[in-house]
């Protein structure tokens, strides 16, 4: 097994495919969506639609149309294709696909990776890609042997003529198979017969990630390449008024200073010189309309907005206000979650080379189509003349679906006529992110005389991600991402009301690992704990009793509680908390053990037991890794906030935006619910439960309820 990433462009790939020198290229089309491509209107469609490529040496190359950012998708997609292809797994390689319509993610209508959608959307197509190729190889063998193909079967990269036990290798059949018609209706395996899917297969990318050979965007090197770094206005929306590059140009190695749409960039013959030149720049900014924004002002705005008329109703069942009025017990609370940065380990970067008739972009991107379109717009080239070379991503988490880093590189290359790599500083990355929206959530709940919840209201004020990402797409002021995890609470409560005040702040927001569930999971599952406490009931049993109509929620909740030993005593000083959510169609419960030092206000998370139901599974080891990863992402969110002063982000590097480190790492145990439901994603769903589970455990330890993140020491003293 090995992994390669080549820089085959569309024409190069087509050539390789059509000459037959490299064997069989199987293409097929996602049903119903891509008729234009299927009809061959594109000049180079055949190779572009390929997922499976078989070399004459039996090597199987799987074209990976999703971005590998750590979630293991390169391996998972290869496993699905190889399962039906019946090939020898040791002969499988993976290669990142170019940007092309056939690779559009049906979840988005463009090629990209996000929303924990890859397995959900590629399960069927990748199995079918493998099966289609297998059937063509069988047909080619049958033709060569002049036998009926029903007498042949495929196994371990061989086609076998069952009656005579003759065999032909995939490599020897590939060229002939490529010339056969593509079957449309191919038999698929019963999942009970899977031999790869569902097994802890070793990742294809690990070997390259232990010796420095994996190529990330920041590692791209092109002949004659220049190195650049830019400065954006510290105030969001601000512009360059004027700048003086005199000093910057005296820095050794600096070649040029260029004004681009995002600000000013220094171009040099190495990154360090560009960074030094950046420090020497003198820029006067027109700070614009946002120069007076502050975090305090944003919280005040949210608090005003949440009670105003005209909110968009996200869910209404029964008559919650009336039930609240008549209730035996009423519980009220306000919750707040801050803006958060993605802080991928690899800072934003991109390399571009704009020439007269083409533009090449080497990018660690989650959005191949959006990057292609961005470069086309800036260069005036047609999208098909823009070639996107996707590298490994040093973390994505939603940040790399943006194209701001692509724009920088393309503009600079266009201006300079040379390949340019732009690398952002950590501070630029932190201060010019699209942040997890800060959000404000007001709850009320009512209990009847027996302690059963009879009403639940949740009023939310926060900025809209869709307003930023897809301007004009928000209808009736209701952005589903702002209320996900809040409008869809699974508990059997007769009167529920959830509404949303879309409230823009001037701070750009974006998709941050687990999106709206990241804050609404914290809000809802913390407030649910408050309601359980008011009812004087065990927080696990209270939830469980309300989940009779939500079996998959109940299943993970019970599994987490069981594996955590919920009913068993803990060592002195340890306390438990639990939470359950559904995000991106997967179900997760987490039960944590925490200790709190009320003298200095510190806490430690010792153990996290995670139960997951993601339907059918592709790779259990990857799933466990993703849950561990989401849990650490959630733990970090307990510590961090992005705050705004005079329109500027106050944090800049890991000293002011700290990460969870080795010494804070709890033991994480992951359990997967066996399921025959459709496969769903695992990249994001591990995140949302962690904050409420920990804060609920802190309440169990101290009686103090954390209603505002991050957790501050003074909250626990």
């Amino acid at each position: 097994m090995s992994v390669t990433r080549t820089n085959l462009d569309r024409r190069g790939f087509l050539k390789a495919g059509l000459t037959g020198a490299t064997g069989l290229v199987i293409g097929f089309y996602l049903p119903g969506r891509f008729e234009a491509a299927a009809a061959g209107s594109d000049a180079t469609p055949a190779a572009l639609n390929a997922w499976i490529h078989i070399g004459t040496d039996d090597t199987v190359t799987i074209m990976i149309d999703k971005s590998e950012m750590g979630q293991g998708i390169m391996t998972a997609l290869s496993m699905l294709a190889a399962e039906e292809l019946e090939c020898d797994w040791k002969k499988v390689r993976a290669e990142f696909a170019p940007a092309a319509k056939v690779y559009y993610n049906p979840a988005f209508g463009s090629q990209g990776t996000g929303g924990s959608s890859s397995i959900r959307s590629s399960w069927g197509p990748m199995l079918k890609a493998g099966a289609t190729a297998r059937e063509m190889l069988i047909a080619a063998a049958a033709q060569q042997w002049s036998v009926d193909k029903s007498q042949c079967r495929a196994e371990n990269s061989l086609v076998i003529h069952t009656p005579t036990k003759r065999t032909l290798t995939y490599g020897s059949l590939a060229e002939a198979a490529a010339k056969l018609p593509v079957p449309t209706d191919v038999p698929l395996k019963n999942p009970k017969d899977f031999r790869i899917v569902g097994k802890p297969i070793k990742r294809l990318d690990t070997a390259d990630k232990v010796n420095g050979s994996a190529e990330f965007g920041i590692d791209v090197r092109r002949p004659g390449m220049l190195y650049a770094t830019g400065v954006r206005c510290p105030v969001f929306g601000g512009k360059v008024a004027s700048f003086d590059a005199t000093k910057a140009k005296t820095v050794r190695g600096v070649k040029d200073v260029v004004q681009i749409s995002s600000g000013v960039a220094v171009v040099a013959d190495n990154t360090w010189s560009a960074l030094q030149g950046r420090k020497a720049l003198e820029i006067k900014w027109d700070e614009g309309a946002n120069a007076n924004i502050s975090s305090d002002g944003i919280w005040t705005l949210f608090a005003e907005r949440v009670d105003q008329e005209g909110a968009a109703v996200a869910r209404k069942e029964g008559d919650a206000p009336s039930a609240l009025g008549k209730a035996a017990t009423k519980i009220d609370a306000v919750y707040q979650a801050p803006f958060l940065a993605h802080a991928t380990m690899e800072p934003m970067n991109c390399t571009a080379y704009v020439q007269a008739d083409r533009c090449d972009v080497w990018a660690p991107t989650q959005g191949q189509t959006s990057s292609q379109n961005a470069a086309a717009k800036l260069t005036g080239l047609k999208p098909e003349s823009v070639f996107i070379h996707t590298t490994y991503l040093g973390g994505g988490f939603g940040r790399r679906g943006e194209t701001d880093f692509v724009d920088d590189a393309v503009e600079l290359s266009k201006a300079l006529g040379a390949p340019v790599k732009v690398t952002w500083t950590r501070e630029e990355d932190m201060q010019h992110d699209v942040y997890r929206p800060a959000s404000y959530s007001r709850f009320s709940a009512a209990l009847d005389a027996s302690g059963n919840p009879v009403a639940w209201t949740n009023r939310i004020a926060c900025p809209s991600i869709f307003n930023h990402a897809f301007p004009g797409s928000v209808k009736n002021n209701l952005d589903g991402t702002s209320v996900e995890g809040a409008a869809d609470i699974p508990y059997s409560i007769p009167n529920i009301f959830v509404d949303y005040q879309l409230t823009e702040t001037g701070i750009p927001v974006g998709f941050w690992r687990s999106v709206g569930d990241s804050q609404n999971g914290f809000f809802v599952e913390s407030f649910m704990d408050e309601v359980a406490a008011a009812a004087k009931k065990d927080p696990y049993e209270f939830r469980r009793a309300l989940l009779s109509n939500a079996p998959r929620y109940k299943g993970v909740l019970e599994l987490a509680a069981q594996k955590a030993g919920w009913a068993t005593p803990l060592p002195k000083g340890r306390y438990r908390g639990i939470a359950v959510i559904s995000a991106f169609k997967s179900y997760v419960a987490e039960a944590v053990e925490v200790s709190v030092n009320q003298k200095d206000g510190t806490y430690k998370v010792h153990r996290v037991v995670c139960a997951l139901d993601c339907g059918r599974i592709v790779n259990p080891d990857t799933i466990a890794a993703q849950m561990q990863s989401g849990i650490v992402y959630g733990l970090t969110a307990l510590k961090d906030q992005i705050t705004i002063d005079r329109g500027r982000v106050e944090q800049g590097n890991f000293d002011t935006y700290p990460m969870v480190r080795m010494n804070e790492m709890p033991v994480v145990e992951v359990f997967i619910v066996p399921s025959e439901e459709a496969a769903t994603g695992v990249g994001e769903p591990g995140v949302p439960c962690l904050a409420p589970a920990v804060c609920n455990a802190i309440f169990a330890a101290t009686g103090k309820r954390i209603r505002r993140l991050p957790i501050r020491n003074e909250d626990l003293i």
């Binding site: 950012m69 979630q71 293991g72 569902g198 802890p200 070793k202 990318d205 690990t206 070997a207 990630k209 232990v210 010796n211 420095g212 190529e215 990330f216 590692d219 190495n270 990154t271 360090w272 010189s273 960074l275 030094q276 802080a343 991928t344 380990m345 690899e346 800072p347 490994y392 040093g394 973390g395 988490f397 950590r426 599994l559 599974i617 259990p620 080891d621 990857t622 799933i623 466990a624 890794a625 561990q628 990863s629 989401g630 849990i631 650490v632 992402y633 733990l635 590097n653 890991f654 000293d655 990460m659 969870v660 480190r661 080795m662 010494n663 790492m665 033991v667 994480v668 145990e669 359990f671």
Partner: protein, 181 residues
């Protein structure tokens, strides 16, 4: 003025701004991109290399200060991924995005050189300077313990431990498929 030093056993001579950090000399001048830029302030550990055997943050180490030293980068940890840590990293599937892993491996190899059988506390001390945003810490800890075993077996009883022979109990526990153990 040219500065001379040794990288992974090979003599190198560069003529750059003497204040340029070793990180950028490695990456841009010498084209060795395994060592990563993460923060530029010695806060994240992604740029960790060994200077005369000592794990060091190359992003804040001026090239003028390494003249005459012996530098080891991730590319020089082994020629063929055979270092016990690399074997353990592969066996336990440590990397996710992989960006921080060069630095993690260089910090961990410094630790193992000093403490062939490190305790969890020693692992915390040696590894807390290295951030992993994917949160692979649990597997890093397991893999360091595993590498210690592989290393000790290689030193004493070469035939008794094979990569892939067993996963540690904690690692197995973390990859349980199915509700029942």
């Amino acid at each position: 003025m040219a500065i001379e030093f040794n990288v992974n056993g090979k003599p190198e001579k560069v003529d750059v701004d003497p204040s340029m950090p070793l990180l950028w000399v490695l990456r841009d001048t010498l084209g060795m991109t395994g060592t990563k830029f993460g923060c530029g302030m010695a806060l994240c550990g992604a740029c960790t290399v060994h200077i005369n055997g000592e794990p060091t943050r190359s992003c804040v180490t001026a090239i003028s200060t390494v003249a005459g030293t012996r530098i080891t980068t991730i590319e020089g940890l082994s020629a063929d991924r055979s270092h016990p840590l690399q074997r353990a990293w592969i066996e336990l599937e440590v990397p996710q995005c992989g960006y921080c892993q060069s630095g993690q491996l260089m910090s961990a190899s410094g630790l193992l050189a000093k403490h062939p059988q490190p305790t969890d506390t020693q692992i915390d001390e040696a590894m807390t300077g290295n951030i992993c945003r994917c949160g692979t810490y649990q597997r890093i800890r397991e893999a360091i313990h595993r590498a210690a075993k592989l290393q000790s077996a290689a030193n004493h009883k070469p035939d008794t431990v094979h990569a892939g022979e067993l996963l540690s109990s904690a690692h197995r526990r973390n990859a349980v498929a199915g509700g029942a153990e």
